[in-house]
């Protein structure tokens, strides 16, 4: 045996993995470690006692309790609302179904700040639901979280439902089970993995939500994520922030581990068998009604947002949009919103190619067939490593960037790439999770067949992988683009004052008094929402099942 065969595979693996690992090392591990260091080492000496002291504070207890409580309730509600819609949108066939499907996916990619603004507009004193006096309550936060995440349930459970073999249900019906019994005894158990998996992801997103809680919770309600933000920016209590970051990191890592175990077996890319959707029958009325209600619930905040942006002083007007070229009342902004939009788009383009190229490398590395147990372990280790950004608060990441990448050897303080890099890292798990199931679904024998016909490794990839993966790749880039446009947590630390992105501008506008400023915030939100929606509609047209399925 020559050196070539024994070492060429591990060397190729290492060669492909080295770039993403280095990038993640410098731009993720280093900043997060820097942040933790800041907390543990007070005045140059290791002081873990202070961290424990932080975890004993009553306010921290309240924050942790609120985080767990709100995430749990929001998850339960999202699952209960999402299940009927998943059935209606993935098992039934009716006119306009695809449009409804796309519409219900939109909230998931709406920038968090936009969602916050929309809910304040809906529930505020002057809003259509103002009489409910929900503005600033925990209910408002819950509604925002559910609004955001119900799409994940519909997606995750819907795709599983779609690929469910209909025969066991038919067998049960033939044995005398009514539709309800069939659902409880056959369908629901078969869907359980998908439901648990979707619920755990929703819980994860709810528990780490930042923009929604910050804009809707104000100072009364704080989750761990917003508390880290307040502690670092307003109170400069880095030890407390680090303590909460660690708590969050541990909790989220544990949750990811559990979610990974429970994750539904991926449907696979190439040859998925899908039961044909059928026409709605009388028994589907409940599901259809529930879907309509959900659609109204999702549309209401967006509709009020749009109508609010078109109202000035009680009349219809485009003034709010015209004002986007100005810097607002009382110079609320340093640059006009239109400039911020250009910055946002540029940043999103950069973040997209970064996360895409990294995500593609990672996906290739983790899905290649392993020839030994050690190789398999390395690959699954890498898989987990690149999921880490999902588990770390974007705020922690942003702040870590600020304190570790501002001095030689890596000084990126003024680099135009600082924000895109941070956003690319936040989008990376999304990209990897979209591409990995597709690549993993390719039968490795296809590549072997190509090789045995004389195709070299690169040619084999072009023949076998590319035709299957290009659509998911496009979808992933749309996803990354939308995520980058709306990213708020990390960007709020890193964007320079004279080059803000749109979400930053919106947040600043709602924090500044003056009716014109709020109007501008509404208009800017509409513009941002419209942009991400268009991107998402394009993605939806690609019909990639793994989009948004974690």
């Amino acid at each position: 045996m020559t050196l070539g065969t024994r070492w060429s595979r591990p060397l190729t693996l290492a060669g492909l993995a080295v770039v993403p690992v280095a990038v993640l090392g410098v731009f993720f591990v280093l900043p997060v470690a820097g942040m933790l260091h800041e907390g543990f080492w007070a005045d140059g000496s290791f002081d873990p006692g202070a961290v424990l002291e932080v975890l004993g504070r009553p306010r921290v207890h309240r924050v942790v309790w609120f985080t767990v409580w709100s995430a749990t309730v929001a998850t339960v509600v999202a699952v209960l609302l999402g299940l009927p819609a998943a059935h209606a949108l993935h098992r039934l066939r009716f006119p306009g179904r695809d449009l409804v499907r796309a519409a219900l996916l939109v909230p998931f990619v709406l920038p968090t700040v936009v969602v916050g603004v929309a809910f304040r507009q809906l529930l505020g004193e002057a809003g259509p639901l103002g009489f409910l006096r929900l503005d600033g309550t925990a209910i408002a936060i819950l509604a925002g979280l559910v609004f955001f995440n119900v799409a994940l349930v519909i997606r995750g459970v819907g795709t599983a439902w779609e690929s469910l073999d209909p025969r066991p249900a038919e067998a049960a019906a033939a044995l005398g089970a009514g539709p309800v019994q069939v659902f409880w005894t056959v369908t629901l158990p078969a869907l359980r993995p998908a439901i648990v998996s979707a619920a755990s992801v929703v819980f994860l997103f709810c528990a780490t939500a930042f923009g929604v809680v910050l804009t809707l919770g104000g100072l009364r309600y704080s989750s761990v994520e917003t508390e880290i933000y307040l502690l670092t920016t307003n109170l400069l209590d880095l030890q407390a922030a680090a303590a909460l970051s660690i708590l969050q990191l541990v909790a989220v890592a544990a949750l990811l581990l559990v979610a990974g175990r429970l994750r539904a077996v991926p449907g696979g890319g190439a040859d998925r068998v899908v039961a044909r959707p059928r026409r709605p029958a009388r028994g589907d009325t409940a599901a259809l009604v529930a879907t309509t209600v959900l659609l109204v619930l999702v549309a209401a905040p967006i509709a009020t947002l749009v109508s609010g942006s078109l109202h000035v002083d009680g009349g219809w007007s485009l003034d709010n949009y015209r004002a986007l070229t100005t810097d607002g009342t009382h110079q609320a902004l340093l640059v006009p919103v239109t400039d911020a939009l250009v910055t946002s788009l540029r940043t999103a383009v950069d973040a997209t190619w970064m996360s895409l190229s990294m995500g593609l490398l990672v996906a290739f590395v983790v899905t290649r067939r392993s020839r030994s147990r050690a190789e398999r372990r390395v690959r699954s280790g890498l898989d987990g490593f690149f999921m880490l950004p999902l588990g770390v608060s974007a705020v922690t990441l942003g702040f870590g960037f600020l304190i570790t990448l501002d001095h030689p050897p890596i000084d990126l303080r003024d680099s135009p790439f600082l924000v895109p890099i941070a956003q690319a890292l936040v989008a990376l798990p999304l990209v990897v999770r979209t591409i990995v199931p597709v690549l993993a679904g390719i039968n490795d024998r296809q590549r072997q067949a190509a090789a045995s016909l004389g195709a070299g490794p690169l040619r084999a990839v072009l023949t076998v992988d590319l035709p299957v993966v290009w659509k998911p790749l496009l979808a992933a880039s749309g996803f990354a683009f939308a995520a980058s446009l709306g990213e708020f947590g990390a960007t709020s630390f890193l964007a320079r004052d004279d080059h803000p992105t749109v979400p930053i501008v919106i947040y600043r506008l709602i924090g500044h008094p003056g009716p014109m400023n709020f109007g501008m915030a509404l208009a800017a939100s509409v513009v941002l929402a419209a942009t991400t929606t268009v991107v998402m509609l394009v993605v939806e047209r690609l019909r990639v099942p793994s989009v948004g399925a974690f």
Binding site: G4, R6, A270, S372, N443, Q446, S452, L453
Partner: protein, 342 residues
């Protein structure tokens, strides 16, 4: 000529193939026959370069193939399920290897048409794989493998994904096609009928080892041990006195053990054995019986269709020598026992 010298393959230290030595002369078809899990597919993959042997040497015409990657070996591998590229038409699938070798234009089309003709699918070039039946897909896969006249074609259970009737027909066609193309082929299969139809030589594998190999008729006539005999389609293996009685009736010299095919005993008015019918079942061609023969025990026999003896009836039986195979003493365990097909 393919040569395997003491080749072993491990998966994480678990041996899958152990010390396999085989030769395959040019132009011949070798079938590696064995139950699932015996390591035959791993052996094939090692020859293809998809697994690295942990010991031993795989060579072609005297050159060691270690370190030669799959795509440079010039061996075509055909999978059980074809593995056609679903986004390419039949024509482009078949022409794939030609294009990789930079053959262009009308030459490719001519060769593709020729190959499709060879596998009986003339005019299918524009179809997509998804529109083909299982048998058609396997034919396309075969044509694709043959396109660049590979030095060796490796067939991994090429017909086992097909239904029985089609499998039988395609096995005969496969032999004709391989013969016509003059290709050297290594095929693994668990179906002995398929092996007999397609191959010239046979290697029987069990537990990662080749337990017997040689020209197909030789192996068939002289299985090395009882297990091999049963795997080759012999219905029972008789030992000791029972073997003696049967061999005597066939006018063959006595031996410690003999493998018996299902149709070795035939109802015949002047046969040397007398048996009592235990059960009978009519098939379209003959009546299959189980008879109890004194000194032998229960054994299979056949009778012509016009004769349908009921249970308890006595019957004279002749033994066809060509359907018995004497097991050499070297292949027997220390204590002989009556064993039969599961």
């Amino acid at each position: 000529m393919l040569t395997l010298d003491d080749v072993s393959v491990d998966y994480d230290g678990v041996p899958a193939v152990v010390d396999v030595t085989l030769d395959l002369p040019d132009g011949e078809v070798l079938a590696v026959l064995g139950p699932s899990g015996c390591g035959k597919s791993t052996l094939l993959r090692a020859v293809a370069g998809l697994e690295t042997p942990s010991a031993g040497r795989i060579g072609w015409d005297g050159h060691d193939l270690a370190g030669v990657p799959t795509h440079k070996r010039g061996f075509a591998l055909m999978f059980q399920d074809g593995q056609l590229f679903s986004h390419l038409t039949v024509g482009r699938n078949v022409g794939y290897a030609l294009r990789i070798r930079r053959v262009r234009g009308p030459q490719v089309e001519r060769r593709v048409a020729e190959l499709l003709e060879l596998v009986g699918l003339a005019g299918y070039a524009g179809r997509l794989p998804a529109t083909l039946s299982g048998g058609e897909r396997q034919r396309v896969a075969l044509a694709r493998s043959l396109a660049v006249e590979p030095r060796l074609i490796l067939l991994d259970e090429p017909l086992s994904a097909l239904d029985a009737g089609l499998r039988e027909r395609l096995a005969a066609e496969l032999r004709e096609i391989l013969r016509a193309a003059g290709t050297t082929a290594l095929m693994v299969t668990h179906d002995h009928e398929e092996a007999f139809t397609v191959a010239d030589r046979l290697a029987v594998m069990r537990g990662g080892r080749v337990v017997q190999s040689g020209p197909i008729a030789e192996v068939w006539r002289g299985p090395a041990d009882p297990e091999t005999a049963l795997f080759l389609g012999y219905a029972r293996v008789l030992h000791g006195d029972a073997a003696g009685v049967l061999l005597g009736a066939a006018a063959m010299p006595p031996a410690p053990a003999v493998a018996v095919r299902r149709s070795a005993l035939i109802a015949s008015p002047d046969g040397p054995l007398l048996g009592e019918v235990v059960s009978g079942r009519a098939t379209p061609e003959q009546v299959r019986l189980v008879v109890a023969v004194p000194g032998v025990g229960e054994i299979d026999a056949v009778a012509p269709l016009d004769l349908h003896p009921g249970p308890g009836e006595r019957l004279r039986l002749a033994v066809e020598a060509a359907k018995l195979a004497v097991i050499p003493a070297g292949g027997l365990p220390a204590a002989g026992a009556h064993s039969r097909d599961p």
